[in-house]
Amino acid sequence: MSKKPIFKEHFVLHKWSYLLGTILLTVSLVLQLFVPVLLKSFTDGLQNESIQVSDLWELSLWFVIVGLGAFLFRSSGRIYIFKMSRILERDLRSSLFSHWERLQTEYYQNQRIGNLMAHAVNDVNIMRQIVMQGYFQMVEAAVLISISVFMMASTIHFYLTLLVLLPLPGLTYIAYRFRSKIQTHSLKVQEAIGTLTSRVQEFCSGISVIKTYTQEEEERKKFTNDNQSNVEVNKQLIRANSLFTSLSQGIVGLSYLISIVFGSILVMKSTISLGDFVAFNTYLSLLIAPIENIGKVINLLQQGKAADNRIREVLSTEPTILDEEGIVPITAIRGNISLRNLSFKYQRGKESALKNINVTIPKGTSLAIVGKVGSGKSTLVNLLLRLYNPPKNSIFIDDHDIRDVPLRTLRESVAYVPQDNFLFSTSIKENIAFDPNPYQDEQVFHAARQAHVYQDISDLPDKFDTELGERGLSLSGGQRQRVSIARALIKPSPIIIFDDSLSAVDSKTETYILNTLRTQMKSRTSIIISHRISTIQEADQIIVLDKGEIVERGTHQSLLKQDGIYKKMFTQQTTEFTWPTLNGRKILIKKRRR
């Protein structure tokens, strides 16, 4: 974290705007402080009977002028300073987002989305509040307190001022203390509500299991517990809040008491005039809020520092996958891939995920990869996509080391169907045309037909304009997978990769898709990962991975002759086995193909 605090940087960048805002605010505060002065001259004038009715007009006019001036300057100053806070908020969110776009897959595997969101929501909010409340109230407090205390002490009575101010630091202190206390409690309240929410959520989502296993009573008990602890934490919060309110009321009251009692004694002794007394009380009433705010601001600044650090930590995380020095500025790829002695170990992994892989995939041919879970299939694909950095001189694309190929060129040249079929909550059309290049509707329809999802989409109420996601429609697993396939097929890239991408479609659809793919694949280099032999048996070459190594390679026919893992998989996926029933008959169960 070498960077300067974010707030400091922002402040320096916008120093003139801040200066202007501060000046505007200060002017308005000074004007506001004229009110006690005017009241004093009014009171004293009345007391001395020196005031004329015409003077009253003038005095009234002054109140209006001062009020109007204070209003105008405060409004504009407030807008100015608050605008800075909104700019800070906007810019921070924007830079967080664009930074996150540069970070590699590995980063996301170690982070929960919720935590990342917390940076963009809570931390950014705190930063905004530092300006909105922190800076604004700090200026207000500094100006109001210094001027009015000075006026009270110098023009009215020094010791009375001292006496009246005595209880007030207590106000700052409890405001500071209680704010942290209240925050801790509020956090607990939020957690409790969160627990309650997930309890109900879980109950509703799991309702069929709950009913099947007659869990209603248990669930009610659990809910009652959560409900009770929610009441408990809420009571704690309420208690802290009430205590704060009542204590601060007491302290403020004490100040007023001193001011009224001793002030009037001083008036009786003629040490100060009645006008002084009135002005003094008015100053005091202006002081209370800023003094209380100081405590809150100090607390806010503490939180702000922590938020600042957290945001900076995100922003200073360097992306590891980027165009390095010495890249070859190519913009197109033909599609020859060769892996030479490729070994790879994940940073956190104990063992190598891939060991000494050698494969050449000439342009326009297909490679199929099979193997158990954890054998390194997906790792291989991740490296080809440069989601992770392969070691130098181990993966070559068109005879360029993949690390020398511009990231953009590489990814524009690969169409990829991932395992998990993530779709965005936009329309289906936008999902299929996700590739940033422009596409005509016809092309979208064509891709959908090729992925055998056109009919499904046409049956939806809004067809290709149907919105997906939280507020829209949810497709079935198989449909999502096929939309994801269409998203890859629409892209005219020389390389196409399927990462176990036909698992959720039934055999009929699978055959159909594979048939259409075959025509496409002739012009493209394709890589297919699958558990199902049926998906891959016609590939130009097949490799079998086990614990990161290629243990078998060949074509479907030649592998069957080898009598190894591949053969075993094939038999497992086609054989039958039996089990007897009560009646002593045998039940024959055919294995599902996987």
Binding site: C204, N281, F422, K590
Partner: protein, 571 residues
């Protein structure tokens, strides 16, 4: 109605409110008395008495505030608690249909957000409303008592403030609503992009996604600025009106003091009261919205509470034996989820004690509906379903369901440990038994590899299981529950080849002496069941064992043909 038990608490809190109102109104009046009566007379002793009275007022008011706040808000919490209990209890007796028709988000909102809004009604609105109205009345009364003329003068400004306040509040409410909705779309966009970041990167679409984000971000900024500007005009304007009324007081009050029709102390007290007037006025503007929101929530909650469950326990239940034999009869059963759109039409069959029965048919043929009827997730409209000769509608729901174990395709995982998830409420089952069962279906080694073994937390906040692992866990639940009737609803679709052998072996063990119903898309799974029921569009079209059905050369035969074709197809 829910506040009834807490009437005393509410009354107590109202009483305290009275004290607080008096105390907060007293201060300017005390200053007035000090100026007019004691300072003029140089009455030190009187001043001291006044000081003591003021001191007592401060202390009492401070203490009252503490208790009033506590009592009031505690009461709110108790009411909330009762409401939540009632709503949740109501949910727990509602039938499946209810959960299918209402999105989860809506149900959650009823218990969390809507109840919270009601709390506002009890703890904030009602009593604060009383407090604010009392203060307003008190101020007006005191002002009128001190000087009718000055009061009228002040009232020149107050209506303007009231109008301005209500106007701004309305504008502000719309702005805030817009700001919130933009923020929520900004954040959901962000969350989605973070989850799908690798897809964005792989399609090299960073630029476009950032553009869209910045668009939303800019929109949020503009909405925020709008709110800021409105607030920045409104908040200081209250101060402006305060100064204007001060000017009026100085002008008119000053003249009256000169005329000696009003004392100076009175004028001074007025300057305070005018300022005090604004707070409750602003509060009242808020109350109005809060009441509206709370009433809307209350309506939704009561509406929810008033929907009666449709699947309920019989009035005079018959008791099932401790162990049922498992004779299941569907006697001309008709069933529709809604109206007359029949999902099952005249379904008539008998499953004898201990038989294994397969149900096949295309998607939507009604296979799952049969299961939903057997354990009364839904009630059929016509015909009778019986278990061991007893109409299932004459049996207590829990009594019926504890005899029927269903292994679901999409097993729900609760947040809890592995043990909790398997055991559910069968507290008598020991850990060893669970482990033994897990070994039997080949998932023991997986559980052991988890960070805390069987005590690892599962669910949203814990370890996430794959579809296959979930199905195995679902299997374990059924093994532990040891129900008399076992139903598999497409339960082995995602289990990998190695585990499937183990699962089949376990199933073989379980289906001994136990009525077992298996639903499957893949015919191979049920080929040798004692009986196969073939459903088509809600009707039983064929029934018999594999050989008989093949001989018929009808629907089942076609289904087999179709699947075999798929199997032998090559790429």
């Amino acid at each position: 109605m829910f506040a009834k038990p807490y009437r005393k608490l509410l009354f107590f809190s109202l009483l305290l409110t009275g004290f607080i109102v008096i105390a907060s109104l007293a201060q300017p009046f005390i200053i007035k008395v000090a100026i007019d009566s004691y300072i003029k007379m140089n009455d030190y002793q009187g001043m001291m008495y006044l000081g003591i009275i003021y001191f007592i007022l401060i202390m009492v008011s401070s203490i009252c505030t503490y208790f009033q706040n506590n009592t009031l808000q505690f009461t709110g919490q108790y009411v909330i608690y009762d409401f939540r209990q009632a709503v949740f209890k109501h949910f727990s007796v509602m039938q499946m249909d209810f959960f299918r028709k209402n999105p989860i988000g809506r149900l959650v909102t009823r218990i969390t957000h809507d109840v919270e809004a009601l709390n506002q009604l009890y703890s904030q609105v009602i009593v604060n409303l009383v407090k604010e109205v009392l203060i307003l009345i008190g101020i007006i009364a005191l002002m009128l008592y001190m000087s009718v003329k000055l009061t009228l003068i002040c009232f020149l400004v107050i209506p303007i403030i009231a109008i301005v306040t209500f106007y701004f509040k309305r504008v502000l409410r719309d702005t805030q609503r817009k700001l919130r909705s933009i923020l929520s779309s900004l954040l959901s966009y962000l969350a989605e992009n973070l989850s799908g970041m690798s897809v964005i990167q792989l399609f090299a679409r960073e630029r476009k996604q950032l553009d869209r984000f910045n668009e939303l971000n800019e929109e949020h900024y503009r909405a925020g600025m709008r709110q800021t500007v409105i607030n920045s005009i409104f908040n200081p304007s209250i101060g402006l009106f305060g100064n204007i009324s001060l000017a009026l007081l100085v002008w008119y009050g000053g003249r009256s003091v000169v005329d000696e029709t009003i004392t100076f102390g009175t004028v001074y007290a007025f300057t305070h009261y005018v300022r005090q007037f604004f707070e409750p006025l602003r509060g009242l503007a808020d109350r109005f919205n809060q009441i509206q929101a709370a009433l809307a929530s209350a309506e939704r909650i009561f509406e929810t509470l008033e929907t009666k469950p449709t699947i309920v326990n019989p009035v005079q239940p018959k008791e099932l034996p401790e162990k049922v034999k498992g004779d299941i009869v569907f006697n001309h059963v008709w069933f529709a989820y809604k109206n007359e759109e029949w999902v099952l039409k005249d379904v008539h069959f008998r499953i004898n004690q201990g038989e294994t029965v397969g149900i096949v048919g295309a998607t939507g043929a009604g296979k799952s509906s049969i299961i939903q009827l057997i354990n009364r997730f839904y009630d059929n409209q016509k015909g009778i379903i019986s278990l061991d000769g007893i109409n299932i509608k004459n049996v207590l729901l829990n009594d019926l369901r504890r005899h029927i174990g269903i292994i679901q395709q999409d097993a729900f995982i609760f947040s809890g440990t592995v043990f909790d998830n398997i055991r559910l409420n069968h507290n008598a089952v020991s850990n060893e038994e669970i482990i033994k069962a897990a070994k039997a279906v080949n998932i023991d080694s997986f559980f052991r590899m988890l960070p805390q073994g069987y005590n690892t937390m599962l669910g949203e906040e814990g370890t996430v299981l794959s579809a296959g692992q979930k199905q195995l866990l679902s299997f374990l639940r059924a093994m532990i529950a040891d129900n008399d009737v076992l139903i598999l609803d497409e339960a082995t679709a995602n289990i990998d080849t190695e585990s499937e052998q183990a699962v089949q072996a376990a199933l073989r063990e379980m289906s001994k002496n136990r009525t077992t119903i298996i639903i499957a898309h893949r015919l191979s799974t049920i080929q040798q069941a004692d009986k196969i029921i073939v459903l088509d569009k809600g009707r039983i079209v064929e029934m018999g064992n594999h050989q008989q059905l093949l001989k018929n050369q009808m629907v089942y035969y076609d289904l087999c043909q179709n699947q075999n074709k798929g199997k032998t197809l090559k790429i």
